[in-house]
């Protein structure tokens, strides 16, 4: 018997490699999107801070804009710096 597989259509779900399931700001799933967005993934990316916490980019930007003085991570109160790894 000769078995030839002409095409294998697999199914996979994608997910962010993050240390948590939900965004600490909007409490929505990382794999979903922030409340302002409709489409997940590229349109609503995650960002990591140097403190290793991560959020929806839109959420943390909104947060930082609402902080007049110190730009802190909402989780650990360290100064927020984007981790461009």
């Amino acid at each position: 018997m000769k078995l030839t597989i002409k095409n294998w259509t697999g199914v996979a779900t994608w997910k962010w490699v993050a240390n948590d399931d939900n965004c600490g700001i909007c409490r929505m799933a990382f794999d979903g999107c922030c409340p302002d967005c409709k489409l997940p993934g590229d349109d609503c990316p995650l960002v990591w801070g140097q403190c290793s916490h991560c959020f929806h980019m839109h959420c943390i930007v909104k947060w930082l804009q609402s902080q007049p003085v110190n730009q802190q991570c909402p989780m650990c109160r360290q100064e927020w710096k984007f981790n461009n790894k």
Binding site: K2, L3, I5, W14, K38
Partner: protein, 750 residues
């Protein structure tokens, strides 16, 4: 002298009133008559003679004339009723004429002698005779005689309605072009009129006959024919045949105009009633054939206000719906088709929507109890080809489910009519009664969410089954649905479709990546956003190592393409196109990954025990056996001994199941978790409440648990459970030994 006078007088009296002697021939001269009259007057016997004569007439009527008349009706069967009646009338008329002579003589006597004592309260003694005739006749009447009378008229009517026969043969005497029968018939009627018997003797029979005839005519004409309007033609027919005929019968009567007018009113009313009833009895069929049966519906619409049969219609139609539609033998899609047709046709019949509501209420309830209703609605909404629901969808109107939407009716207040009171008062005001078919269907469930969820599941299944599916088309439908259900509800579906489009692009990218080694198994991947798809059915499956490396390298490709993201493979989902070359034949199949993996393992080794394969593939043996069954049915694997499977290289000719046929035969199960599973999962959240309750209160009845859950846990949550569902859930827990059920009470096991 006196003696002789009396003797003579009696002879004279007998001569002019021979009836006193029970004989008829009345031969006397005028002189004789005057002489007799004089004698009677002299002897002052006028009153006595009159009484005697009337008594004799009565006796002869009672004893001979009337029994003779009726006896004609009882004559042997082989004589046609037409002739029986004709003969009876003739003989009666003959007797009547004789009596009339007597009466005439009596009348003359009264005139000469100036005697005016009324007979039977009648001054005109001819009327007295008629009265006597009538009363005696009906005192000896028997209902079975009516049959003869109605036969008589029926045959005569057939004679009149000749155009309904193709042949020119006379229905009575079977002669061609007979005109004699009609003359006989008209003559008989003339005699009846003369005796004032036409009304009393024949009216009932005549009316019955005509009713029957109208009924027959309508039945015959509009049987199974809904696409023509008959009202007008029936009215014309009534005028042409029945009324004309009646006019002929009554033509000699002095009261003809009034009788005919009465008949006309009565018959027209009957015509409408009968026609409406017949149509109402056909209404279910009319509804089913809706657009073609518009003419019939129009007729009903015209007839209903004239006949007062609305209640009858409601009752009949509900019965028909009950017996013909709402049972297990009818598939859901047929119920839906009928439902849509009912909505359309009833809305046409009664624009106020009340009728519709009353009739469709049971259908709503029934549809709610069918499991696949939503699925049917959704699939017919999106189906290709001519389809009522799809058309409705394209027409586009927003679904109004919200109880709070206030429709401002812009109709003119002057044309407003109060709601008819013959239905049960309904809670929904007229303005809320939606006329939109899709809205009504959605309202069967009362929530858009259920509909949208079902659509999502169906879409997910479709997308997973055919990777190459026509996303353009799906997007078009999605846009149409969005018009109906609003953007927010269908947002998930939008993401799902975008996933498919993106997947194609990502696949291309990764395959162009030089780091991605194109191996022997070409793969493509659907990359889906788990949050937006309906939950997948979870099954474990360990794929063949060859494939795993392939998947790994694909994952790597994805990770480099999309930073910080990775893939979780759903090994059991997807489709595999494969080709199996055997020495004698080639099979081309599309199968599920489990099936493909089984064959890949058998390619490595042609003998596997069920247990080994189960361990390797991490699939439970029972499930695996079922999957192997698929290949057994294709004649590729055989179970040699218990639980040992062998690859069968050579198939003997008679064993070939399907030869060189491209079989697309993967089990068409949904890849999505079933609605039941999802529901159970929702109930699972309450399990902790239930455990808590039982720990505190030891034992509880089903009702108590339901009540308490309703009070504490279900409050504010969007989920709604009825007691039945809860019972099923609890029973499952009992089976899993997490709960004990005894004496109708639940408790926790110790």
């Amino acid at each position: 002298m006196q003696e002789v006078d009396v003797q003579d007088a009696w002879i004279f009296i007998n001569k002019i009133f021979p009836i006193l002697n029970s004989s008829y021939p009345t031969v006397y001269t005028k002189e004789e008559f005057y002489k007799a009259a004089k004698i009677i007057k002299e002897l002052n016997l006028t009153c006595f003679v009159q009484d005697m004569v009337i008594l004799k007439i009565e006796t002869s009527l009672r004893k001979s004339i009337i029994p003779k008349f009726w006896s004609h009706f009882k004559s042997p069967e082989n004589i046609k009723p037409f002739y029986k009646f004709l003969k009876a009338i003739d003989s009666l008329y003959e007797d009547y004429s004789k009596l009339l002579e007597v009466i005439n003589a009596l009348d003359m006597l009264r005139n000469i002698n100036n005697f005016d004592k009324p007979i039977m309260g009648e001054m005109n003694i001819k009327n007295s005779l008629k009265l006597m005739l009538k009363s005696t006749m009906f005192s000896q009447h028997h209902t079975s005689y009516d049959k003869v009378i109605s036969y008589f008229y029926e045959e005569a009517l057939l004679l009149e309605d000749m155009d309904s026969f193709s042949s020119k043969q006379c229905p009575i005497c079977s002669l061609l072009d007979c005109s004699n029968c009609e003359t006989l018939f008209l003559k008989a009627n003339g005699k009846l009129i003369e005796m004032s018997l036409l009304g009393p003797l024949t009216d009932q029979a005549l009316t019955d006959l005509i009713y029957y005839y109208i009924n027959m005519h309508i039945q015959k004409t509009c049987k199974d024919n809904f696409d023509t309007s008959y009202i007008e033609s029936f009215e014309k027919w009534l005028d042409r045949v029945i009324i004309t005929w009646l006019k002929k019968i009554y033509c000699h009567s002095e009261v003809s105009d009034r009788s005919i007018a009465d008949f006309d009113k009565k018959l027209r009313n009957y015509l409408y009633n009968t026609y409406t009833k017949i149509r109402i009895n056909q209404l279910f069929n009319i509804i089913i054939e809706y657009p073609d049966s518009l003419a019939a519906l129009e007729d009903i619409k015209i007839c209903l206000p004239k006949t007062d049969l609305k209640q009858y219609l409601i009752k009949k139609l509900q019965q028909a719906v009950e017996t013909r539609l709402l049972h297990l033998g009818v598939s859901t899609s047929d119920v839906l088709t009928a439902y849509v047709a009912a909505i359309r046709s009833l809305r046409f019949l009664d624009p106020s929507g009340l009728l519709l509501e009353v009739i469709t209420q049971p259908i709503h309830q029934y549809l709610r109890s069918r499991e696949d209703t939503v699925r049917c609605v959704v699939s017919s909404l999106t189906e290709e080809g001519p389809n009522d629901l799809a058309e409705e969808l394209v027409r586009g109107e927003t679904v109004l489910c919200d109880e709070n939407t206030i429709q401002d009716s812009d109709e003119n207040w002057e044309t407003w009519t109060p709601e008819s009171s013959d239905h049960q008062p309904s809670k929904i005001p007229a303005t809320k009664r939606s006329s939109d078919i899709i809205s009504m269907l959605v309202n069967v469930y009362g929530s858009k969410e259920l509909f949208v969820n079902e659509y999502r599941t169906l879409l997910a299944d479709r997308l997973l089954c055919q990777y190459s599916c026509d996303t353009e088309k799906e997007i078009r439908y999605l846009e149409l649905l969005k018009l109906r259900f609003g953007d927010s509800q269908l947002h998930y579906c939008e993401v799902m479709l975008k996933d498919i489009v993106d997947s194609k692009r990502i696949n291309q990218h990764i395959k162009q990546d030089p780091n991605y080694k194109n191996q022997e198994i070409p793969i493509s991947t659907m990359i889906v956003s788990a949050q937006f798809w309906p939950p997948f059915k979870e099954e474990k499956l360990e794929l063949h190592p060859k494939l795993l490396t392939q998947f790994e390298s694909f994952t790597k490709g994805f990770e480099t393409l999309k930073g910080s993201r990775t893939l979780c493979w759903k090994n059991h989902l997807g489709i595999v196109d494969l080709e199996i070359e055997l020495s004698s034949r080639t099979l081309s199949l599309s199968v599920s990954p489990v099936h493909a993996t089984i064959m890949m393992h058998f390619q490595d080794s042609n003998r596997w025990t069920l247990n080994d394969l189960s361990k390797t593939m991490q699939v439970p043996p029972t499930v695996l056996r079922r999957k192997i069954g698929f290949w057994q049915s294709h004649g590729l694997l055989v179970e040699n001994e218990q639980d040992i499977f062998l690859l069968k290289e050579e198939t003997s000719e008679d064993n070939i199941v399907q030869d060189n046929i491209i079989i697309e035969d993967y089990e068409s199960e949904s890849a999505m978790a079933s609605a039941q599973d999802q529901r159970d999962e929702e109930l699972q959240t309450f399990w902790s409440y239930i455990v808590g309750m039982l720990m505190n209160l030891d034992t509880l009845s089903l009702e108590r648990i339901h009540q308490m859950l309703k009070m504490f846990a279900l409050q504010g949550s969007s989920v709604e459970y009825n007691i039945h569902e809860l019972k099923i859930f609890l029973d499952k827990k009992v089976r899993e030994h997490q709960l004990i059920h005894s004496n109708g009470l639940y408790k926790l096991p110790k």
